[in-house]
Amino acid sequence: MNRLLPILTVVAAIVAIWYVATIWMNAQWTRDQAERAGVELSFRDIVTDTLAQDRPVLPAPHQVVAELWQLTWVEETTGRRGIVKSGTLSNRSLVHHGWLTLSATALGFAIGTGLGFLLAVGIVHNRAMDLSVMPWAIASQTIPILAIAPMIIVVLASVGLTGIVPKAVISAYLSFFPVVVGMVKGLRSPEVAQLDLLRTYSASAAQAFWKLRLPASLPYLFASMKVGIAAALVGAIVGELPVQQGGLGARLLAGSYYGQTAQIWAALFTAAILAALLVGSVGAVERAVLRRQGMAR
């Protein structure tokens, strides 16, 4: 409770600011409409109207929640194309689009983490690789990689790859470098005394890797996996922008074309919930593994 109260206060403050901003930003349209109709508006009328517009500049929080509910539960249970009536997920619902984004994120994250892990092992065990690849891995962090996402999508489409794979490639690329940098740090984290001890046991490099370096690197691995999975989600969403084949990014762009602000915000919230779930599940695995290893903090 002691930790929850401040957080709830801040969240409540954000929601309050949001409501005030909604009234302030939507008031212009309400006043224009009233002027055209020749009606005098009281402050009360402005408030009720701004919080219930069809295409508001800024939808109120309850409108966004209603849109979320409409596009998930209501669409699936009562919609003509919903899962109850048609047996498949409706292509209008955020469950369908969220699933498309999530599967691309998961595939890309698995590929990126796997490759990053292998490269980190190579860097730690091969000095030439360390000296030549590592500076580039660090420098590539400063490059706005997301900017080339549309090109990767279009190029892969021109060689016949469409659907989940191009998006997963971008996600993999984005989650790759945090894992490499974190893992190299982690695999190097055992102290010299510990490595020396293994040498006195005449342990081979492979044994030292499995019994000392890998367990010691786990906290670093999980820290960079949390960064990597958040980046993978962003990559999948941006990867959906250029080719409109569904997914949360496609919903964002469609909403911005047709001025459906509530739809944009609903897609944005779905993305936020997905991000929280993904980071949270990596955190849960981290806690479970570290507890088994006796490293829980």
Binding site: P144, L146, A147, A230, G259, L268
Partner: protein, 283 residues
């Protein structure tokens, strides 16, 4: 085919040289430490050129580095215009506004531990969200020109810098603060002379993360609408025309600008936090 085998041969030779340099006695020399990654970079370019020419990869899929170089040289005015529009107007102004707002907010909530305990987890949470997604909304609010890009950048850089600054302001030790109190230093004197300098390594960490975010925000926001110039606009239209060399030229400019921006912030950090252990002992 000769291109392909030549490139592979060059790669093997360069790798052997690198392996010898790295294992040799000169590996600790700064020049060698610079030469090894440089040689690796050159190898990648040669391999790229060789594969593209040897396998006759269509330039629509992957243009050769020489072709990209020629495009850069031929379209300097376009690249410069896009650079000014996206990096200078969009990313840089948003970066300055967002980072100063974040530091100011951190100082404002510094006196209230209650607000800090509430704002830190929320800030950490928001920093992990796909904030790029707010780009269509902000483009709708602030119009197509650079102001909306700057707004996206402000939102993207705000929370990482805020979280780092709040953590930094808590970094000075109890003893040091007590010492300031025995000198009857006021709150602002303590802040200015002890806590802000002690927070600098943390603030710069946030500022360095924010450089990349600023460029990403400015470029991606242009995919949602922009005037007829800008790096994001050029990338999306050139991809549509399959003018891939121009896209790669823009990417090269973005990469150079990103590295230069990061290097600049890192250089300022080295000048301002020369006393910190992580900066000492470097040549």
């Amino acid at each position: 085919m000769i291109w392909l085998w030549g490139a592979i041969l060059f790669w093997l030779a360069a790798w052997a040289l690198n392996a010898r340099l790295a294992a040799g006695p000169a590996a600790r020399h700064p020049a060698v430490r610079l030469a090894i990654p440089a040689l690796f970079g050159v190898t990648l370019l040669v391999l790229w050129e060789g594969i593209v020419r040897g396998l006759q990869v269509s330039p629509v899929i992957l243009p050769a580095p020489t072709e990209i170089g020629a495009t850069i040289a031929a379209s300097l005015p376009i690249l410069w215009g896009d650079f000014v529009q996206t990096i200078v107007k969009g990313a840089l102004s948003g970066y300055v506004i967002g980072c100063s707002a974040a530091v100011a907010t951190a100082i404002a909530i510094d006196r209230s531990p209650f607000l800090q305990r509430g704002l830190l987890p929320v800030g950490n949470f928001i920093a992990a969200l796909p904030i790029v997604g707010t780009a269509p909304i902000l483009v709708m609010w602030f119009g197509f020109d650079w102001q909306s890009k700057a707004a996206v950048v402000v939102v993207m850089v705000f929370f990482p810098v805020l979280v780092n600054t709040v953590a930094g302001l808590a970094a000075s030790e109890r003893m040091q603060r007590d010492l300031m109190a025995t000198w009857s230093a006021s709150y602002w004197q303590t802040l200015w002379k002890l806590r802000l300098p002690a927070a600098m390594p943390f603030i710069f960490n946030g500022l360095k993360i924010a450089t990349t975010l600023a460029l990403i925000g400015a470029i991606v926001a242009e995919f949602f609408g922009s005037p007829t110039r800008g790096m994001g606009f050029r990338i999306s239209t050139a991809v549509g025309q399959l003018a891939l060399p121009l896209v790669w030229a823009e990417i090269a400019v973005a990469a150079l600008a990103g590295s230069a921006f990061y290097g600049l912030v890192a250089a300022i950090e080295r000048g301002m936090t020369f006393w910190h252990p992580s900066q000492r002992g470097r040549p």
